[in-house]
């Protein structure tokens, strides 16, 4: 079945042609109904999201494949953020996954088996690959300092960079840019990102001086760099424990 590191079976959604997901444009009646009901509902969990960063991510099973990501996070406390990840910051953005971010303190409490699935953030922040669109560096600095010492776990559920027009297959574990060959983000991707957001990664680098990574270098995170192994997920059929017949 559709393992995270395999190409999907050819189908209209895997054609890779065109950037639009499949489906008809949203009807006006739908939009009106949506907006009407939204006014009656309190969307409290969503309102907690207050952090937006833009950076790049790589596939754990193929780190040479890079993708621009927009991360919208809810800072739950000083040690934890829960984030929705999109492929752009426009109203047409695709939800491509979820990332959790923990402080060094929380990360060190995880088992080594769990730590293998997480990645560090210091490199991408220190060279300004990770940016805070429309927020001045001086305002973003405390958050950037915190994030530079953190670790993330990002499951990507829509391989949009491959041209999938629907979310196919199972989640892919993602890893962060690293200062090794496959982990250095392709310059053309950075250029495209910079142009779209009217920023210059190069120009931002000096403001990241003095931002340091975790106190202790963890030897299990960023597993692929040291051990040259990535992680892929497979779907396996099994017996379902049931309370009643299914389906």
């Amino acid at each position: 079945m559709a393992s995270s590191d395999k190409i999907p079976v050819a189908c209209p959604a895997s054609s890779g042609d065109g950037k639009e997901p499949m489906g008809d444009p949203t009807k006006t009646t739908t939009t009106i109904l949506d907006k009407g009901t939204a006014m009656m509902q309190s969307m409290k969990p969503i309102r907690q999201m207050s952090v937006h960063v833009c950076s790049f991510a790589c596939y754990s099973h193929d780190p040479g494949r890079h993708m621009e990501v927009h991360i919208y996070g809810h800072r739950v406390n000083q040690d934890f953020l829960q984030c929705a990840v999109y492929d752009s910051n426009s109203s047409k953005a695709h939800l491509i996954g979820i990332e959790y971010i923990v402080s060094e303190k929380l990360f060190e409490s995880l088992s080594p088996e769990e730590q293998k699935l997480w990645h560090s953030h210091d490199y991408e922040i220190q060279i300004a690959l990770l940016v805070t669109p429309r927020v001045p560096e001086v305002v973003a600095k405390p958050e950037l300092k915190n994030l530079a010492k953190s670790y993330g776990k990002f499951w990507c559920t829509w391989q949009i960079d491959r041209g999938d027009r629907l979310p196919l297959g199972v989640p892919s574990l993602m890893v962060s840019p690293q200062d090794v060959n496959l982990g250095r983000i392709k310059p053309e991707l950075v250029k495209k990102r910079d142009e779209e957001h009217g920023i210059s990664t190069e120009a931002l680098k000096p403001s990241r001086d003095g931002i340091s990574g975790p106190e202790k270098k963890n030897l299990v995170a960023d597993y692929w760099v040291r051990f040259r192994k990535g992680f892929a997920l497979d779907v396996v059929e099994t017996d379902m424990k049931r309370t009643a017949p299914f389906p």
């Binding site: 079945m1 559709a2 999907p8 079976v9 050819a10 209209p12 959604a13 499949m22 489906g23 939009t31 009901t37 939204a38 009656m40 509902q41 969307m43 409290k44 969990p45 969503i46 999201m49 952090v51 937006h52 099973h61 406390n77 000083q78 040690d79 934890f80 829960q82 910051n89 426009s90 109203s91 953005a93 939800l95 979820i98 923990v102 929380l106 409490s109 995880l110 305002v139 973003a140 405390p142 958050e143 499951w155 629907l166 979310p167 989640p171 090794v180 060959n181 192994k229 990535g230 992680f231 997920l233 779907v235 396996v236 017996d239 379902m240 424990k241 049931r242 309370t243 299914f246 389906p247």
Partner: protein, 241 residues
């Protein structure tokens, strides 16, 4: 039936960590005022429903979906374990019309579940919205298919999102969901699912009937991790100058 393991966010384990420092939270407030949150602003709908693990129906969770339309045929949803500000982000769901579902390869169809019974049974509802208005949209949802992944097993009391993702499934017939869990939800949101079921009797599921490959094709599904070789990290030949 086994006792429901049903954790509401009020009683569930707190995420470990220090309270957010003033400096950091001030940054976040200033930041959100100027940033573009367009993707989040597309989220217009809150749906409450129940999911169970694709390999274990006895583990059931209340799932709060916050959804937006990508287009008329597709929605994308963030899933939380409760409706409040302290809710945990536990997963996501994609919802597509039958039209899009039918284009998927057979292997892919198995990962998706039907919404017909969830909606017609009254188990899926929009908190805060009068039933008659809800039905205008839910009659469309009844014909759709969804694909859900959860990343945080809050029903096991995990304080942090450890482990692998889980494929989830939704209720497809009576007798699957724990009555105590349903009663608790009904009480919390002031709804009556039995009553709503009567009003929704007119609704129809997918035009071509529930696809036999959907809902795991009736089998349990689980995800396993496998290590793969990465080509040598320094794989580009050096350029000699």
């Amino acid at each position: 039936m086994e006792k429901a393991v049903h954790l509401s966010t009020k009683n569930g384990p707190k995420v470990p960590g220090e309270p957010t420092k003033t400096g950091t939270s001030m940054v976040d407030t200033a930041a959100s005022a100027v940033q573009s949150f367009a993707p989040i602003n597309q989220i217009h709908q809150h749906l409450c429903a129940f999911h169970f693990y694709a390999y274990d129906m006895t583990r059931q969770v209340e799932a709060h979906h916050f959804c937006g339309h990508i287009n008329e045929d597709m929605r994308q949803c963030l899933i939380y374990d409760g409706p409040d500000a302290n809710a945990r982000l536990i997963g996501l769901e994609y919802i597509v019309t039958e039209k899009l579902f039918m284009t998927l390869p057979d292997d892919e169809k198995k990962l998706w579940h039907t919404h017909e019974w969830e909606v017609k049974g009254g188990f899926l509802f929009m908190p805060g919205v009068p039933e008659a208005i809800q039905r205008q949209d839910l009659e469309k949802v009844a014909k759709t298919y969804g694909k859900v992944y959860h990343f945080w097993q809050v029903d096991l009391g995990h304080q942090l999102p450890i482990g692998l993702p889980n494929i989830m499934m939704a209720v497809t017939r009576d007798g699957q969901l724990y009555p105590e869990m349903i009663k608790e939800t009904e009480k919390q949101f002031g709804v009556s699912m039995d009553k709503e079921r009567e009003s929704r009797a007119y609704m129809k599921g997918p035009d071509h009937g529930i696809h036999p490959l959907a809902n795991g094709g009736g089998k349990g599904l689980t995800l396993e991790v496998r290590e793969v070789d990465i080509k040598p990290v320094e794989s580009v030949p050096r350029v000699f100058v």
